[in-house]
């Protein structure tokens, strides 16, 4: 019973914390780029959400129920993932494996891409075809990451992976394949969450928008839900990264401190992501394949390393 409550609490905390994480990311980026920090605060996304959910939704003409259902399906996919990733140093509520994780992410993307074409406006189609195009390298990279992890740990179950990685402790920095996978995972996060080198989530010109062009047709509560869901996705991906690749640092700490440690590490990860994004121009559209291929090559190197070293490396 207590485990269930803890799992619910950690998933709920991830969902609630997610906009704040985005706020931190934007704030750090603004500071790094020399923009005025008065423009944004950590709490800014929460205020945006409140403002949006108070407004009336507007439906585009010529839309079907796909358009209406897409934000809700997307939201429920991303939020249910928040209950499946290990976070705060404890096992998740629902045990799923990395492949199911990948497919749930793809489900949300697919539904939302359909909604983009539903309004029959050209810009929605533009955004959704770009989004589905990015999906291909992303899914390949994530599947190769799970292959490399499976080769090392003989499991792809998220909770078990985090446990085994935690048990490694600091010695995981000595294992070349795990470091390569961690690096590949960073690419995968940028690809999946549509962060800076891949896609500019703060774009304001339709032609430069990727995934965001789909949201042009949404307004009010629906738009708020979409933006929240996007932040939850980023938060889920980052907390998976933290649990798999940063938590081993905290080995030896017991529970209440461990949860705080997780939060601190999550913050550090966000700041690092901001550094990674800040001085990086957006890639041209067709070049988006390149980070995906880079992630795949890193994973292949990790696999080669693991196969050559056998079980001792």
């Amino acid at each position: 019973m207590q485990e269930i409550l803890q799992g619910l609490a950690s998933g709920g905390a991830l969902i609630v914390l997610a906009p704040g994480l985005l706020g931190l990311l934007r704030l750090t980026k603004a500071r790094l780029q020399g923009r005025s920090r008065l423009l944004t605060t950590v709490l800014r996304p929460y205020r945006d959400l409140r403002r949006l959910t108070r407004q009336l939704s507007i439906r585009a003409e010529r839309t079907t129920c796909v358009f209406a259902a897409a934000p809700i399906i997307m939201w429920s996919c991303y939020t249910v993932l928040a209950f499946t990733v290990p976070a705060f140093g404890q096992p998740p509520l629902l045990q799923i494996d990395l492949i199911t994780f990948i497919y749930l992410l793809a489900l949300a993307r697919f539904t939302f891409a359909l909604a983009g074409m539903d309004a029959s406006a050209p810009l929605g189609g533009l955004g959704s075809s770009r989004s589905m195009f990015i999906n291909m390298p992303t899914e390949l990279a994530l599947i190769l990451i799970s292959t490399a992890l499976a080769l090392h740990y003989k499991t792809v179950s998220l909770g078990t992976l985090a446990d085994k990685q935690y048990a490694e402790g600091l010695s995981y920095f000595l294992k070349a394949d795990l470091l390569l996978i961690a690096f590949a995972f960073v690419f995968a996060i940028s690809l999946e969450a549509g962060r800076q080198p891949i896609d500019n989530s703060e774009a304001h010109l339709e032609l430069t928008m990727g995934h965001k062009a789909i949201t042009l047709e949404y307004a009010g509560g629906d738009l708020g839900l979409i933006e929240w869901a996007e932040t939850v996705k980023l938060c889920v991906l980052l907390s998976l990264f933290v649990s798999l690749f940063m938590m081993p640092i905290t080995k030896g700490i017991t529970q209440p401190a461990l949860a705080i440690g997780f939060l601190v590490l999550l913050g550090i990860a966000v700041v690092l992501l901001a550094f990674w994004e800040a001085r990086r121009p957006k890639l041209r559209l067709r070049q988006i394949i390149q980070p995906g291929m880079a992630a795949c090559v890193l994973c292949l190197l990790a696999i080669i390393y693991r196969v050559i070293m056998g079980s001792e490396g």
Binding site: A60, L114, M117, I289
Partner: protein, 790 residues
């Protein structure tokens, strides 16, 4: 629990033959004139014929259901042997026919008959369409023969009857593909570059191509069967199986030598060629998309949903039972299968109409199933490690699961496509003629969209489970095997992962272009604008709701429910399939699948297949709850609640979509080509960059002054690059010969290296990325082959 059946295999085949033969004959009483009109009640002979096929399929369904679920033991084999009367002493049979229903055959018969029950019901609606007018008689007759022969393929137990059944399948389907053959506009070659024209022409070519392809495949099979039969001295399945694994008591005195590696491999390659052509593995994939879209809708669903999988059944028989497999067979099968999946999904993305895209997707799914077979074939030869045997069985389960799933979701998609064709009165299902179907025909579109979610492999529908199983099998295989196997498995994994992602892309394109958005044809738009949306939805009259054809919609509903059931109850299904796999002799000494889980001896994760059911249900429930919360967040603001308290009507504003400030026009929608442009761009090679400097030339006129392109290329010749010595002592003749020889060689080397260099270094970044990937794979292979064995 298992009891004796009250029919034998021979009786079953006899009853089926009687029913389907009657169903074949009755339509000839029909006086079906080519009126070209939709007729709501079909004429009685057509209905009787469909009813008979329904009866036959139900009988086969009940029997195979009982056998497949172990309620009955396998039906005892029957054989009819009649010797040639005028050679009294010889044993040359004039008629030889053997039938047997074992668990594997029953599984396939279950799918075939269940599917044809649904198709027969669906046909009651679909055959009323006007464009079938004048063809209904032929279609109903051939449909009966087609179902009968497809069932026969999995029920017979000897090779001659197998070939005969395959031949019946070929002819009946060839006849079905013929029905568009004699339309007046399809015999001329397409003039315009319009996909519709090409399709019409394809319909003209289809029967010829199909006959040619099928008979090529049969030729390969005959050779393979001849080799097997000569070796075993018998052509029935049991004889061939006994020759492979001679049982100690039966064979007694005459001990057979096993087939040598060369002969066995020849049998494998021949049967792979024969069956591969039949199911459409690369490089024989082209015919499927040419032939199948030309057949009438009901059989189109049947042929691509089911009949093509008969090839998978025969592959299991040929590779696992009739021969003793060698490990490298699996490598070939796995690689061919993954390439098939990848290539065909590209074709599907590039295709311009619904039926062709679905046909390519069928082959892609055949590729996924065959990949499962390939993994099974790799690991079944490893007799020493128990986990390898376990893995082989798991791979076969994944294959069968995907086969079952594919039959259901692809059937759903085909039937929905057929319904669209029906509702559009046969005016073509090209994307350029569709669009906005979800608003025109909401129920049919809902069925198609559900099928699209299932085939793209999204939880909680069934496609996800089998794709998950296939990927897990590959992951477990990578963990526990030799270096070469790891390299092959990773190559297959990459190709399959890309194929899975592209399937989602392709169905995004299909659904959004054909079903969402605004209609692309003026007539459809007028239909939509005739009435406001709500009024149309609430219209009570049946005529005003065109897509409420009960027979068609009901069948699609059943299939959609099956998609969901197979998706959320994987544990049950896997146990059942595992029992069937256990029944195949090569897999029978494995542990029963009660403990089937990914958690095998080497400590694979905590997720067992039986438990997978639980997370999926919990995931679905959680997603529903969270979705409800999301809906509340989006729709229930405080202001709305206050409005509700004051009993104000909720305001829902509808505005035109953002079209960059200009009014909406249907022509500005994204087309299928535009939607897939980015993905197709990966495969298309960019044109080679223009050369930086011109090659040196002989002659007076510089090359850029030669206007004609051909003339210019002719003049880029390298004359006298190598000058012989000016030594006067050398005879003139020798000097000339050597000069021309060396110049010839040097020219050849120069031009070939130049073109090769331009080819490998064309300045295209994607090409260099491919080099990086290929070199990684090469390093992997080299290291894996030469690394010391641990």
């Amino acid at each position: 629990m298992t009891s004796e059946a009250f029919v034998t295999s021979g009786q079953l085949v006899g009853w089926l033959t009687a029913l389907y033969f009657a169903g074949f004959l009755i339509p000839f009483f029909d006086r079906d004139a080519d009126t070209g009109k939709t007729l709501p009640p079909l004429s009685w002979p057509i209905r009787a014929s469909l009813l008979l096929s329904l009866l036959g399929s139900t009988l086969a369904f009940v029997v195979s259901f009982c056998v497949a679920f172990e309620w009955w033991s396998a039906l005892p084999p029957n054989s009819i042997v009649a010797l040639v009367p005028w050679f009294k002493d010889s044993s040359i049979p004039a008629i030889f026919f053997a039938a047997q229903v074992d668990r594997l055959g029953a599984f396939f018969a279950l799918i075939i008959s269940g599917f044809s029950v649904l198709v027969a019901i669906y046909s009651f609606g679909a055959l009323t369409a006007g464009y079938f007018s004048g063809h209904r008689r032929g279609i109903a007759s051939a449909f009966n023969v087609f179902v009968w022969s497809t069932l026969l393929v999995v029920l017979v137990a000897d090779c001659i009857s197998l070939l005969i059944a395959l031949e019946f399948m070929t002819w009946s389907f060839g006849y079905l593909a013929l029905y568009k053959h004699y339309k007046e506009d399809n015999q001329k070659k397409p003039e315009r570059d319009d996909p519709y024209d090409h399709k019409v022409h394809n319909a003209f070519l289809a029967p010829q191509v199909y006959m040619m392809v099928s008979h090529t495949s049969t030729a390969f099979l005959i050779v393979a069967i001849t080799i097997l039969g000569l070796h075993a001295g018998s052509l029935d399945y049991q004889g061939i199986i006994d020759a492979v694994n001679p049982p100690p008591d039966i064979m007694g005195g005459k001990k057979l030598e096993p087939l040598g590696e060369v002969t066995a491999s020849a049998v494998f390659l021949l049967s792979l060629a024969g069956l591969g052509i039949r199911v459409g593995l690369v490089p024989a994939h082209i015919w499927v998309s040419l032939v199948h879209p030309s057949s009438p809708t009901p059989t189109h669903a049947l042929s691509l949903g089911i009949a093509i999988k008969v090839g998978i059944y025969l592959m299991i028989r040929f590779f696992f039972q009739f021969t003793e497999p060698y490990y490298w067979w699996g490598y070939i099968l796995l690689l061919v299968a993954s390439v098939t999946a990848l290539v065909n999904v590209w074709y599907a993305i590039a295709s311009h109409d619904l039926k062709t895209a679905l046909a390519y997707h069928s082959i892609e799914n055949i590729g996924i199933m065959t990949a499962g077979l390939g993994v099974a074939l790799i690991f079944v030869t490893d007799k020493t490690t128990p986990s390898a045997q376990w893995l082989a069985a798991l791979a076969l389960v994944a294959c069968l699961y995907h086969l079952l799933n594919h039959a259901i979701f692809k059937g759903l998609l085909y039937m929905a496509t057929g319904a669209v064709d029906f509702l559009k009165k046969g005016k073509g299902v090209e994307y350029s003629r569709l669009g906005g179907l979800a608003r025109l025909y909401p129920w049919t579109s809902a069925a198609f969209i559900a099928g699209a979610f299932a085939i793209s492999g999204f939880p909680p529908l069934n496609g996800f489970v089998s794709e998950w199983l296939t990927l897990q099998t590959l992951l477990v295989g990578i963990e526990s095997s030799s270096p070469l196997t790891i390299a092959v498995l990773i190559a297959a994994l990459i190709m399959l992962a890309v194929a899975f992602a592209l399937t989602a892309f392709c169905f995004y394109k299909i659904v959004s272009v054909a079903f969402l958005g605004d209609p692309r044809l003026e007539a459809d738009r007028r239909k939509l604008e005739a009435k406001p949306r709500l009024q149309r939805m609430l219209a009570r009259k049946r005529t005003q709701r065109p897509d409420r054809n009960l027979a068609m919609l009901g069948v699609m509903g059943i299939m959609g429910a099956l998609c969901l059931f197979l998706g959320i109850m994987p544990g049950l299904v896997v146990r059942w399939l595992a029992a069937i796999v256990n029944d195949i002799p090569r897999f029978d000494n494995k542990p029963r699948f009660a403990e089937l889980s990914i958690d095998h001896s080497s400590g694979w994760g905590s997720l067992s297949l039986g438990d997978l059911q639980l997370p999926i249900i919990w995931l679905a429930l959680g997603a529903v709850c969270l979705g409800a919360i999301g809906w509340m967040i989006a729709n229930l603001s405080i202001r709305d609640l206050e409005a509700a308290k004051l009993k104000l009507k909720p305001v829902k504003r509808v505005k035109d979509a953002w079209n960059c400030g200009t009014p909406f026009q249907p022509a500005t929608q994204y087309t299928d080509a535009a939607a897939s442009m980015l993905v197709r761009g990966i495969a298309e090679t960019s044109p080679p960059p223009t050369p930086l400097k011109e090659l040196p030339i002989a002659g007076s006129k510089p090359v850029w002054m030669v206007s004609d392109e051909e003339e210019r290329s002719k003049r880029i010749v390298l004359d006298d690059w190598i000058r012989m010595s000016r030594n006067k002592d050398h005879p003139q003749f020798v000097r000339e010969v050597f000069r021309s020889f060396y110049n010839l060689v040097s020219r050849w080397i120069y031009t070939s290296s130049d073109s090769f260099g331009r080819w490998i270094q064309n300045g295209d970044i994607r090409r260099y990325l491919r080099y990086i990937l290929l070199s990684q794979l090469a390093i992997l292979i080299v290291f894996l082959i030469f690394s010391p064995k641990q």
